[in-house]
């Protein structure tokens, strides 16, 4: 129990947090963080534990989101059915993909996953009779309050972390890590590498697809560019895991918090700090700066990728010892 003390305290805090902090904007951000915890944790299982780096999280996220959206749009069912089916449909996509890509060693999986995301976006854009194309899908949200969404997202995030924890302590986890460390060695001790990579991929797809379905329910609107975005979904998933710590249980959770916060800082141009500065200075110059900063979140993102990979290759959790040392020295 002792090792779980901090996570349990945190969980308790998270349970009461939205009751204390009722600001919808803040609750919205927390929901996003929790969604990213789920996605990042799923990616981490596949890449961090099994060593199969995917550039295609968006494929599964988008499929999950569209499953929910289309059930409601075409069949008039509640989009919540998507929460049950989104993950499963994502697995249906993952299966043939893994079947093609996994027997090939080397860069093929990473490249194939990148292509998969693009293919799915193209399909969602072109197949207008099914997906409404670029127009996107709009549904009625069930709740006005953010609280139900918050608790569902929390359950999903906690569930995904528990899942990964259970996996890492079982035969499955040992097999995943063995594959990551050396595929030849893994095969030589009787591990069916293709099968276990497939299982890992399907778990990743399931978690990501379910998160996508929740996103649809929560946001009420999706279009191909949002949910199949290479940068905003696939790369973000990678960053969440890497910033937090690849191959660590809580890394993606830490990464999700940091990344969503950073993204928001840039989107809102430093929580309006610059805006305040602008008003104070009353100048045109600061207006321009503010405008640029809020437009520049992708640039900041890019720079962040570069900086993080160079300096924190193992993430905040993985490199925690190094970070502490750096501060002590400093």
């Amino acid at each position: 129990m002792r090792e779980h003390r901090i996570p349990l305290i945190l969980l308790a805090l998270l349970l009461v947090l939205p009751l204390v902090v009722t600001e919808p904007y803040f609750q919205h951000l927390m929901i996003l963080v929790l969604l990213w915890v789920t996605i990042g944790t799923g990616w981490n299982l596949l890449a961090g534990y099994t060593g199969q780096v995917s550039f295609g999280a968006a494929a599964f996220f988008g499929v999950g989101a569209y499953t929910a959206g289309l059930l409601s749009h075409h069949l008039g069912l509640s989009a919540w059915w998507g929460m049950a089916l989104g993950g499963a449909v994502a697995v249906l996509i993952a299966f043939p993909f893994g079947w093609i890509a996994f027997p090939l060693r080397g860069a093929y999986f990473a490249l194939g996953s990148l292509a998969l995301g693009e293919v799915m976006r193209q399909v969602a854009t072109s197949w207008e009779s099914l997906t409404e194309g670029m127009v996107g899908i709009l549904i009625m949200q069930t709740f006005i309050s953010k609280l139900p969404y918050y608790y569902i997202a929390l359950a999903l995030a906690v569930g995904s972390i528990l899942l990964v924890q259970a996996v890492t302590r079982s035969k499955l986890g040992y097999y995943f890590v063995s594959i990551r460390e050396d595929q030849d060695a893994a095969a030589s001790i009787g591990i069916n590498t293709t099968k276990y990579k497939m299982i890992s991929l399907c778990m990743h797809a399931f978690l990501t697809g379910t998160a996508g379905a929740l996103y649809m329910n929560y946001m009420g609107f999706i279009d191909p560019h949002v949910v199949f975005s290479l940068h905003d979904i696939s790369i973000m998933a990678i960053l969440v895991a890497i910033v937090g710590g690849v191959g660590t249980l809580y890394g993606p959770a830490v990464g999700a918090l940091i990344m969503v916060a950073l993204q928001e800082v840039f989107r809102s141009a430093g929580f309006g700090a610059l805006q305040a500065l602008t008003d104070a200075m009353g100048g045109g110059f600061m207006t321009v700066v503010t405008k640029y900063v809020s437009q520049a979140h992708v640039l900041a993102f890019g720079i962040l990728v570069v900086v993080v990979i160079m300096n924190l290759p193992n993430g905040v959790v993985g490199d925690w010892a190094r970070i502490k040392r750096a501060f002590r020295r400093g």
């Binding site: 093609i100 790369i235 191959g247 640029y292 993102f301 890019g302 570069v306 160079m310």
Partner: protein, 291 residues
């Protein structure tokens, strides 16, 4: 039938440029073992350079080759030296760090371009941009034909360089076995740096040659990165001859896709090819040509 030949010609001409893009990518793949996901973004940068030279200084795009190629060579060198080579010394869990780094570099390049040039489309309209000539009833775009000529010359030059010069041989040695090459006294870091520079230079040439018949905006890099990547897979990772075949194949597939299926599907063709290759010819043309 005429439509068919027209499409064939357009496909081959465009394929020549694609080959140029693909060779750069495949060189990098061969030597560094990574896919450069900033490849198209580097091309975009070269196109903006060409645009600036034309728009503000009135320099003809073909002359700009003398500017864009060396400039991008330096950009490639800088990227390799300051972002990718250091990664080789950092230990991390995932070997794909370098690929991810190129994604980051690509994002930075795109956004910097957006900062400076905004998201608007621009183009370079020269006297020959829309000019055509006819051979046997089939029209040839003047600019595309010239570009094709340049592409062939550059490709031939590239081959000569790789086969006949010491530096070229060192590059091939590192591509075959970096460790063995190091033992024989080749400075692998330097070779990597030069290779990245050359890859960037080649794609810069392609971008500059393409600009008179194309348009330009910051996000154009992504689609071209994807094309380069399809060409490289199609050719067989690391194969130069394969990259040429792959480039021409993609050019043809896009042309025929656009003519016979619909304009919208031009971009889809690459992805379709990608999947077909993975399914039926994993290893690409390299499997067939063995080079």
């Amino acid at each position: 039938m005429e439509v068919f030949f027209q499409t064939l010609v357009a496909g081959v001409l465009k394929g020549g440029l694609y080959a140029l893009i693909g060779i750069g990518m495949t060189l990098i793949m061969g030597v560094m073992g990574i896919i450069n996901l900033a490849h198209g973004q580097m091309m975009m940068l070269a196109m903006y350079l060409t645009y600036v030279c034309f728009h503000f200084l009135g320099i003809d795009p073909y002359v700009t080759l003398l500017v864009s190629v060396p400039c991008l060579f330096l950009v490639g060198v800088g990227v390799q030296k300051y972002t990718l080579n250091p990664l080789l010394k950092i230990e991390s869990l995932l070997p794909e760090n370098q690929v991810l780094m190129t994604v980051g570099v690509g994002m930075v390049l795109t956004e910097v371009a957006r900062f400076i040039f905004t998201s608007n489309y621009v183009s370079v309209k020269t006297s020959y941009s829309d000019a055509t000539f006819f051979i046997g009833g089939i029209s040839f775009s003047v600019a595309l034909t010239i570009a094709f000529g340049f592409a062939c010359a550059l490709t031939a030059g590239m081959f000569w360089f790789l086969l006949k010069t010491d530096l070229g041989r060192s590059i091939r040695a590192v591509a075959q076995d970096a460790e063995a090459a190091s033992l024989m006294g080749v400075n692998a870091d330097r070779i990597r740096t030069i290779t990245m520079g050359m890859g960037a230079g080649l794609v810069a040439a392609a971008g500059t040659l393409l600009l008179p018949i194309y348009y330009l905006f910051p996000d154009i890099g992504g689609p071209f990165t994807r094309k380069a990547f399809v060409i490289t897979i199609l050719g067989g990772l690391g194969s130069t001859v394969g990259a040429i075949l792959g480039g021409v194949t993609l050019g043809l597939a896009e042309a025929f896709g656009a003519t016979y299926i619909g304009m919208d599907y031009e971009d889809m063709m690459g992805l379709v090819i990608f999947i077909l290759v993975l399914l039926f010819l994993p290893g690409g043309f390299k499997r067939l040509t063995k080079v």
